[in-house]
């Protein structure tokens, strides 16, 4: 059975699978990011690096996500 036939039988469109896969990746990213932020806040000894490091991570991650979803990066990124 081909992949497209299987999708038809399961009443799924390939787009649904891609969206589902993206949800899994973003959920993994969110969990990993939360764990890392928890470590930064708890163990960085209130270093000044903490918040810039978290901000840079969120900024670049959101830019990559925006590119993946819409093919463009947000307007605020292009200003920097």
């Amino acid at each position: 059975m081909s992949a497209s036939a299987l999708l038809t039988q399961l009443n799924l469109r390939s787009g649904d699978l891609i969206v589902g896969a993206l949800y899994v990746v973003f959920a993994f990213w969110a969990f990993y990011t939360l764990v890392a932020i928890y470590h930064w806040l708890k163990y960085s000894h209130a270093s000044w690096v903490t918040f810039p490091a978290i901000a840079v991570h969120l900024f670049i991650s959101l830019a990559i996500m925006s590119y993946a979803l819409y093919g463009s990066i947000p307007l605020f990124v292009s200003y920097i």
């Binding site: 896969a21 990993y32 890392a36 163990y43 000894h45 991570h57 991650s61 990559i64 996500m65 993946a68």
Partner: protein, 179 residues
């Protein structure tokens, strides 16, 4: 400090981490992985047998764009995780003790303390061309009668300066154990 409380009169003298060169060396695999989707089509074009596969890497199509985005997101997040572990892995020298905070991975930390009054010997080791040029080395601190017999700090910048700093704070007069 979350891992250890400073005693009255105790202050942090220096906080040290592995040399930035070692950190950047650790980032190299992530950089190669990130560049791979862009470099691969050009590399495939060099081999006539695989030339036709180069067109597969057309990132203007939604599926390939999403794949590239996921690839870059995972790579970036992993690299940032490496930076997090690098930063949280530190050595803290106070005027009383030396603390080694070993961040093995997330939710796995080992914090060891060595009282400077128990230090017997401090040895530095610099091996190789790049460590010699960049002044990167290992410091071994031997202790007397402590639970930690040898305390090793690997890949720290300016090891001789660090050794001198440790020795500066080692009390010269023998102290009564427990004080």
């Amino acid at each position: 400090m979350k891992e250890f409380e400073l005693e009255p009169g105790e202050h942090v003298v220096k906080e040290a981490r592995k040399h930035w060169f070692l950190f950047l060396s650790g980032l190299l695999p992530y950089a190669i992985i990130a560049v791979l989707p862009f470099a691969l089509p050009n590399l495939l074009m060099l081999v006539p047998a695989f030339e036709s596969y180069a067109s597969f890497f057309d990132f203007s199509t939604p599926l390939m764009r999403i794949s590239l985005g996921v690839w870059l997101l995972i790579t970036w997040t992993s690299a940032w995780g490496a930076f997090t572990r690098y930063f949280l892995d530190a050595w803290v020298l106070t005027n009383n003790r030396l603390v080694d905070i070993d961040q093995k991975r997330y939710f796995s930390r080992e914090v060891s303390s060595l009282l400077l009054s128990r230090v017997q010997d401090v040895t530095i080791k610099v091996n190789g061309v790049i460590p010699s040029l960049l002044d990167i080395g290992d410091i071994s601190v031997q202790s007397a009668g402590a639970t930690v017999d040898e305390f090793t700090m690997k890949g720290i910048p300016h090891p001789s300066q660090m050794r001198d700093l440790i020795l500066k704070y080692v009390p010269t007069e023998p102290q009564t154990p427990g004080i």
